[in-house]
């Protein structure tokens, strides 16, 4: 009996171990606690704005939060960086900081401490031309970049402005894409080395001439960079488009009222071809947007699709099957300056739109797009330069699937102000303006809004 009892005990122990092991395997390890938000808030903005001889540049810094924020600004170019300068952006306000833009390779690196600010750039070509390039800065560096706004037709100059603000050299390859022909990978644009804390401008026309839409892909093997395209027309018009760190399957490309003909430039970097589904949202019901949905664009190519829009609109593009692509919307200005935007890949509920005005008189506009199924309440607040009381605020409603603009006269209260746009649903926002010369139509700039993280609003 005792022997049987011991045997049973042994079996029980063995059984306990096996059952325990199975239970432990199923239970798995305890989930670690979530990260606790710290107190050392910091972020960066990389602004590869470029420039040219006689050009001027401005960095617009807007603080939507309740506390002032310090920004350390360093200017980069092909030589040594400038000594850092620290700027304090008052809470709920904006600072317009002049920066060097006298060289096509000029760029600005911003380090933000103690809060969050939105940053965008304005570059103006040298008089008498009234070219204006406006774009939001990049919130982070990346190891891949895509852009498709270069134009190497006769008289046009297009550059890829690449910046490396970090402490190690960056090494990258550049490939250029064009319609209906294989990509161009020039030998001297392979393993390009960009020294630490410097920037460079690559002349696209030196490698690929006569193309209206040239897409560029940068692949970084060491380090990290930020990239934007800078295009100058024969009349001195300027288009500035921040690169995309990765292609996506959707794009929201707002365009302003009175923009003239617009063109959707699509760049498919991968080998697989794309069938687009496009939709033009406007004040009326959605409709097809141009001819982009009619044909399949082959892989590793760029293509342009004319867009006819009436009033403030948005071209929403989706690829069938989720094939990634990069899209830019070029809008013809009233005079010699054009504008372009890379749009947004996803709607959001809070945006800051940098000022796009350069000179008086001006016609600032705001394009508010509600791509969703429900109407959205949108609150606009001006973040004015300087300090003092908060800027004016207004609330409007954007119907589902519709596009609306800011109320008349609202933006004119301070056309140099950034605009904080908050909504109770997902929207996309574009800031745009014409300004300068007698009729205020000489310069045309547009820049999509900068998504605001909740903590930037002092929430969460």
């Amino acid at each position: 009996m005792r022997r049987i009892g011991r045997g049973v005990l042994a079996l029980a122990v063995a059984g306990f171990v096996v059952v325990g092991g199975i239970a432990a395997e199923r239970a798995g390890p305890d989930a670690p606690a979530a990260a606790v938000r710290g107190t050392a808030v910091s972020s960066v903005w990389l602004c590869p704005h470029g420039g040219g001889e006689g050009w001027t540049g401005t960095i617009a810094l807007a603080d939507p939060g309740p506390e002032p924020v310090d920004v350390r600004l360093t200017e980069l170019s092909t030589g040594a960086p400038s000594a850092p300068v620290t700027i304090t952006v008052p809470a709920g306000h904006e600072v317009l900081q002049p920066v060097e833009a006298g060289s096509v390779a000029d760029a600005t690196y911003l380090e933000v401490f103690g809060g969050w600010v939105a940053a965008g750039w304005l570059v103006r070509s040298a008089p008498p031309s009234q070219g204006l390039g406006v774009e939001p800065c990049a919130p982070a560096a990346s190891r891949t970049w895509y852009t498709n706004d270069s134009d190497t037709q006769q008289g046009h100059r297009s550059y890829l402005v690449v910046m490396n603000p970090f402490s190690i050299e960056a090494v990258f390859d550049v490939a250029l894409f064009r319609p209906r022909l294989p990509p161009v990978r020039s030998a001297d644009w392979i393993d390009l080395t960009l020294p630490p804390a410097s920037s460079i401008a690559l002349n696209v026309g030196a490698k690929l001439l006569g193309q209206e839409i040239v897409g560029a892909e940068i692949d970084v093997s060491r380090g990290r960079v930020a990239m934007a395209s800078l295009s100058v027309s024969p009349d001195g018009g300027v288009r500035s488009v921040l690169g995309a760190p990765a292609p996506s399957a959707t794009a929201f490309l707002p365009v302003a009222e009175g923009a003239g003909q617009a063109e959707l430039a699509a760049f498919v970097p991968g080998a697989q071809g794309v069938q687009f589904v496009t939709q033009l949202l406007s004040a009326v019901s959605p409709q097809a947007a141009g001819t982009a949905g009619d044909t399949q664009q082959p892989g590793a190519s760029t293509a342009g699709y004319p867009i006819i829009s009436v009033g403030p609109s948005s071209v929403d593009v989706t690829s069938v099957g989720g094939v990634p692509f990069v899209a830019t919307l070029r809008a013809r200005g009233q005079q010699h300056d054009d504008a372009a935007t890379g749009g947004a890949v996803a709607p959001g509920s809070a945006w800051i739109v940098s000022p796009t005005v350069d000179g008086e008189p001006s016609h600032p506009q705001l394009v508010l797009v509600d791509p969703g199924p429900t109407a959205v309440q949108v609150t606009l607040r001006l973040l004015t330069p300087g300090s003092g009381p908060a800027g004016p605020q207004v609330t409007i409603t954007v119907a589902a699937g519709r596009v609306a603009g800011a109320p008349k006269g609202f933006l004119e209260k301070d056309d140099r102000a950034a605009v904080l746009v908050t909504a109770d649903g997902p929207i996309v926002v574009l800031g745009t303006s014409t300004s300068g010369r007698a009729n205020g139509l000489a310069s045309y700039g547009s820049a999509v809004g900068i998504p605001v993280p909740f903590e930037g609003l002092g929430v969460g």
């Binding site: 049987i4 005990l9 122990v13 390890p29 606790v36 938000r37 350390r72 190690i168």
Partner: protein, 1024 residues
């Protein structure tokens, strides 16, 4: 000439023999001795007795038997040698051809003298100077006591006789020997006149070898004749004489060395003395490690005696060498066959081989397989320990083949040893922690042991490192054997249990990774568990309560000095014993007092143990895979494969088979094993607070308990097998045997063929060269990885902590540029500096800050290193987002370089903004730090020093303490970055020193005294 008047030549006179009888308090034996003398058949025998201050009537007996003129009397005891020397100096001795030295407890056969003299005249025997007899036991005349002796190279006598060997005529021929026993020694006059008689400085029992050796050197032969038989009581060896107190080891060592120094030629001395020195060192080490302090002292005392008496030895040497007629090499034939003192088990091995040869002769008619099987069974069952040792040596030698070489070991988790033993002692004594982030936590007393070991091993820390790792598994098995044999009383089962323990996954894994501390814990654990079992057992501890308490305290202290988490294991065992033990109150009292004792033995280290609520007890190591843990592996490694399950399976079978008075201990061992495995999983899975989460300790505890279960099961099963009908026991035993045989064999094969994580420099990832060779000057490395319980790639060592951040949760460790350090053994990474670093990492992993480089700069972190496959995507994303951490290409490792890093001690050219940042002490300020012109300071004893290079702010990455001083300045230290230390400086150079060294120095001296006392209390008494 008639027959009646036939002429006959006068007979040749026979040599005269003077028997010199030394007597002291020998009334019990003297009468028989004298009667035997009277019965001698030899015609020319005279007797001269020397009474060495006898008080038992021996003197009266002598006078009665020999008359006044033949008895010399001493009033004080002068010893045998003096007695004999005085006798041969007597005028009557000058007329004798031979003296026969005789002890008072020796009885000569009637023919003895005649045979001894006869031997001097044997044909072919020239210049016979000394003849000895066949000495048999007084009480058992068939037992041989002496048939002549040889010696080893170092002057220790060696006898070919086995203990209590029976006289079967095996030595019945005249033998040429090196020496004979002086209890009945015939010495030719020419010998003592040439070489003198005994060296009176040597002991009474040791002078005969020396005398015979000198005779040999002078060209005389020394013979033993079996025809002369002497019964000898050997009273001196048995301590039968009242008032005699002597240590044979001391006297033998003393005499041996003195003889060597006198008698060996110069050339021979040139290599014998150094070789003897090395062997003495090894012997001393063994004696010290086994706490035979008195014996070790006697070894040293013997050397010391020879040093003190060197002048007289040299004087005697001159006389000996003057009369030298033969070279040392001629005497080699009398040297012990191996040339060295053979350890007891080599002798046993010789005997075993002899037994096997006899068995083979008996089994000649049987089939070869049957013979082999029978011989194997016979061998293993008769000599299990020897067999296990032999096999263990073979397995160990093959396993450790890659560890041989002059370089230190690399790879795994092996910590770097300092370049010299003084590095250990310096850290032990230092008032501040010299390893990353500093602080005042004391180093572990384990450093004293490691430093001492390194010092003993020719001041080679790399050799000490290899010894600690290489010997660890064997030592663990040996101590497991000792503990098991004490618990079960059965050597055979204990050997099997020890083998299973030594080949268990946890032991081999610790060996593979070079975990010196964990190996020490594995060595100590069996003794700890056994002592706790004894403490709570119904019988009183065999050593007595107080020795038991002291021994347990020392064992606990040694274990905790290496692995503080062992306290958790002790707690588990104590709890199980409290629940199930027999004498709970006594056991609890012993454990409590032992714990107090251990705390005293570790007292400077206790604050380190309790810092941060006992952070030192926990460990971040350990896989949460329960199937790994069941086979006693807390991480992947060689020999942690499925066959490692043999020990747990065998333990279950052992639990089933344990019976009788082994049943309750087996049940306790089973409970301990289950508790250990359960706690191991809970620890690894993160369900326990970090202070009590220690997977390696719990797994080690389970392994120990399972080994004991094997011992209990085997001990119960074997021996009862034949008494019971076939059934459960037989089946269980068969299963257990098969499991153990198969498991041990497979583990042994795996051990012999394994590729260990430690080895040469090739064990370091090649990508490490990016860190090691590309940067100059001092810096620190932050090792990071996912919280998967693994160690870092070499040389990162083991993780020191975990930062919880959801999917980006990281384990981390901060090391110097050479990696994990042995001087940080057992010391936790806690304190304000550690807290600040955790806060910085939290900022990075939460995504709040992307200036991680600046946040980590104050900690001297120049590189962040992770294994490519050990970093979660979320954590990698966070690190990639840092703008001042740049990833560098490195195959196999993910390495970020921090260009904003500060040297661990540096002088900054700080502007006002930088000074504000440095003194602010908040991460929000620190993250704004940019690269600042700086000059590194060098670490020196007691602090740092160097040129300022025009800088104005000296910043040292060590925890703030008021005791830091700036030499030559009244400047006070400032708290920097919230936790570090800085001084405003001007001038060309700066010297920063720690000003509170004295209390630590005093504490260490007191600690040393406490340990000496504890080891003395727990010493093993000397065998006299």
């Amino acid at each position: 000439m008639s027959a009646t008047t036939a002429y006959s030549s006068p007979p040749e006179p026979v040599p005269s023999v003077l028997v010199v009888l030394a007597v002291r308090d020998a009334a019990e034996w003297l009468r028989e001795c004298l009667q035997a003398l009277a019965a001698q058949t030899y015609p020319r025998v005279g007797v001269l007795a020397v009474d060495d201050a006898s008080e038992d009537g021996s003197n009266e007996l002598l006078l009665q038997a020999l008359g006044e003129g033949r008895v010399l009397r001493h009033d004080n005891h002068l010893g045998l040698s003096r007695c004999f020397d005085e006798a041969v100096a007597h005028p009557v001795a000058a007329e004798a051809d031979f003296v026969l030295l005789l002890h008072d407890d020796a009885v000569l056969d009637p023919e003895a003298v005649a045979r001894l003299v006869e031997a001097t005249m044997l044909a072919g025997a020239e210049r016979v100077g000394i003849v000895g007899a066949k000495i048999v036991d007084w009480d058992h005349p068939r037992r041989l006591r002496d048939v002549g002796r040889s010696a080893d190279l170092f002057g220790h006598p060696y006898s070919a006789l086995q203990a209590e060997e029976i006289d079967q005529g095996q030595f019945d021929r005249v033998l040429e020997v090196l020496s004979v026993d002086s209890c009945a020694m015939l010495v030719a006059r020419e010998v003592w006149q040439t070489s003198g008689l005994f060296d009176e400085r040597l002991g009474d029992d040791d002078g005969d070898l020396d005398l015979c050796w000198r005779a040999r050197i002078a060209g005389f032969n020394v013979l033993m004749t079996p025809l002369a038989r002497v019964r000898h009581a050997a009273v001196a060896e048995r301590d039968d004489r009242p008032g005699v107190e002597r240590s044979r080891r001391y006297e033998e060592d003393r005499a041996a060395l003195a003889s060597v120094l006198k008698n060996d030629g110069l050339l021979t001395l040139g290599w014998v003395v150094p070789l003897g020195g090395v062997l003495t060192l090894v012997r001393l080490l063994y004696l010290l490690l086994s706490r035979r302090f008195e014996e070790a002292y006697e070894v040293l005392a013997a050397i010391g005696w020879n040093v003190a008496h060197l002048p007289s030895t040299l004087s005697a040497r001159r006389r000996v060498q003057t009369h030298r007629r033969i070279k040392d090499r001629v005497l080699r034939r009398f040297t012990e066959s191996a040339g060295l003192r053979l350890p007891r088990w080599f002798t046993t091995a010789e005997r075993i081989l002899e037994e096997q040869r006899e068995l083979e002769a008996e089994e000649a008619d049987e089939p070869a397989a049957a013979r082999l099987r029978q011989r194997t069974v016979s061998l293993v069952s008769t000599h299990p320990v020897i067999v296990a040792c032999f096999l263990g040596i073979v397995v160990g030698a093959l396993a450790a083949r890659g560890l041989v070489g002059p370089d230190r070991l690399y790879g795994g988790a092996i910590p770097a040893f300092p370049s010299s033993p003084s590095g250990f002692f310096a850290e032990l004594v230092s008032g501040y922690r010299t390893t990353p982030l500093g602080g005042s936590l004391a180093a572990s007393p384990a450093l004293g042991l490691m430093g001492g070991l390194s010092s003993l091993l020719f001041a080679s820390t790399s050799l000490a490192q290899k010894i600690m790792v290489g010997v660890g598994p064997a030592l663990a098995a040996i101590l497991c054997y000792r503990a098991a044999v004490r618990l079960t009383g059965r050597p055979g089962p204990s050997v099997v249990a020890a083998s299973a323990y030594g080949l268990s996954a946890v032991v081999l894994s610790a060996f593979s990774d070079g975990r010196v501390a964990l190996l020490a814990a594995l060595v100590v654990l069996p003794a700890l568990v056994e002592r706790l079992e004894v403490a709570f057992a119904s019988a009183e501890p065999p050593d007595g309560r107080w020795r038991s308490i002291a021994g347990l305290a020392v064992t606990i202290a040694v274990g905790i000095a290496f692995v503080p988490g062992l306290l958790l294991g002790i707690g588990v065992v104590a709890l199980v014993q409290l629940i199930t033990g027999s004498r709970r109150a006594r056991g609890l009292a012993i454990v409590a007092l032992s714990s107090v004792g251990a705390a005293i033995l570790l007292f400077p280290f206790v604050p380190s143990l309790v810092a941060d609520r006992g952070a030192a007890l926990g460990s971040e190591l350990g896989s949460s895979d329960p199937w790994h843990l069941v086979r006693l592996a807390f991480e992947d490694g060689p020999a942690t494969w499925a066959p490692a399950l043999f020990l747990p399976v065998a333990a279950v079978l052992g639990l089933a088979l344990a019976s009788g008075d082994r049943r309750r201990p087996a049940l306790r061992a089973g409970l301990i094993a289950i508790a250990g495995l359960t706690l191991a999983w809970l620890s690894a899975a993160g369900y326990l607070p970090s202070q009590i989460a220690n997977t390696p300790v719990y797994v080690s505890l389970a392994a120990t308990a399972e080994a004991f279960l094997v011992a209990f099961g085997l001990a119960s099963a074997i021996g009862a097998l034949g008494r019971e009908a076939f059934g459960f026991r037989q089946v269980g035993t068969a299963l257990l045997t098969l499991t153990l045989a198969g498991g041990i064999l497979l583990q042994a094969v795996a051990t012999m063929t394994a590729e260990w994580a430690i080895g040469g420099p090739d064990r370091i990832p090649a990508a490490w060269a990016v860190v090691d060779s590309s940067s100059k000057g001092p810096f620190r490395v932050l090792w990071i990885g996912a919280d998967d319980g693994r160690s870092f790639p070499a040389p990162g060592g083991d993780p020191q902590g975990v930062i919880e951040a959801g999917a980006a949760t990281l384990r981390y460790g901060l090391t110097t540029r050479v990696g994990a350090l042995a001087i940080d053994t057992a010391r936790p990474f806690v304190g304000p500096g550690s807290d600040a670093m955790r806060e910085a990492l939290g900022e990075i992993l939460s995504g709040t800050s992307i200036h991680g480089g600046a946040l980590l700069a104050p900690f001297g972190v120049r590189y962040l290193v992770a294994s490519d496959d050990q970093l979660s995507d979320a954590a990698r994303t966070r690190l990639d987002a840092q703008v001042d951490l740049d990833m560098v290409p490195a195959a196999g490792l993910a390495i970020w370089v921090n260009e904003a890093s500060l040297s661990p001690a540096t002088v900054l050219k700080a502007n006002e903004k930088t000074v504000r940042i440095v003194l602010a002490g908040q991460p929000a300020a620190t993250q704004r730090l940019t690269a600042v012109p700086a000059v590194s300071l060098s670490q020196v004893e007691g602090g740092w020093s160097g040129a300022t290079g025009g800088g104005n702010l000296a910043v040292v990455s060590t925890e703030f303490d008021d005791a830091w001083t700036l030499q030559g300045s009244a400047a006070e230290p400032a708290r920097t970055f919230g936790w570090a230390t800085s001084f405003p400086v001007n001038g060309p150079s700066v010297s920063i020193r720690y000003g509170a060294q004295l209390p630590r120095t005093i504490a260490i001296w007191v600690l040393a005294a406490v340990w000496v006392a504890a080891l003395w209390i727990t010493r093993k008494p000397v065998a006299r």
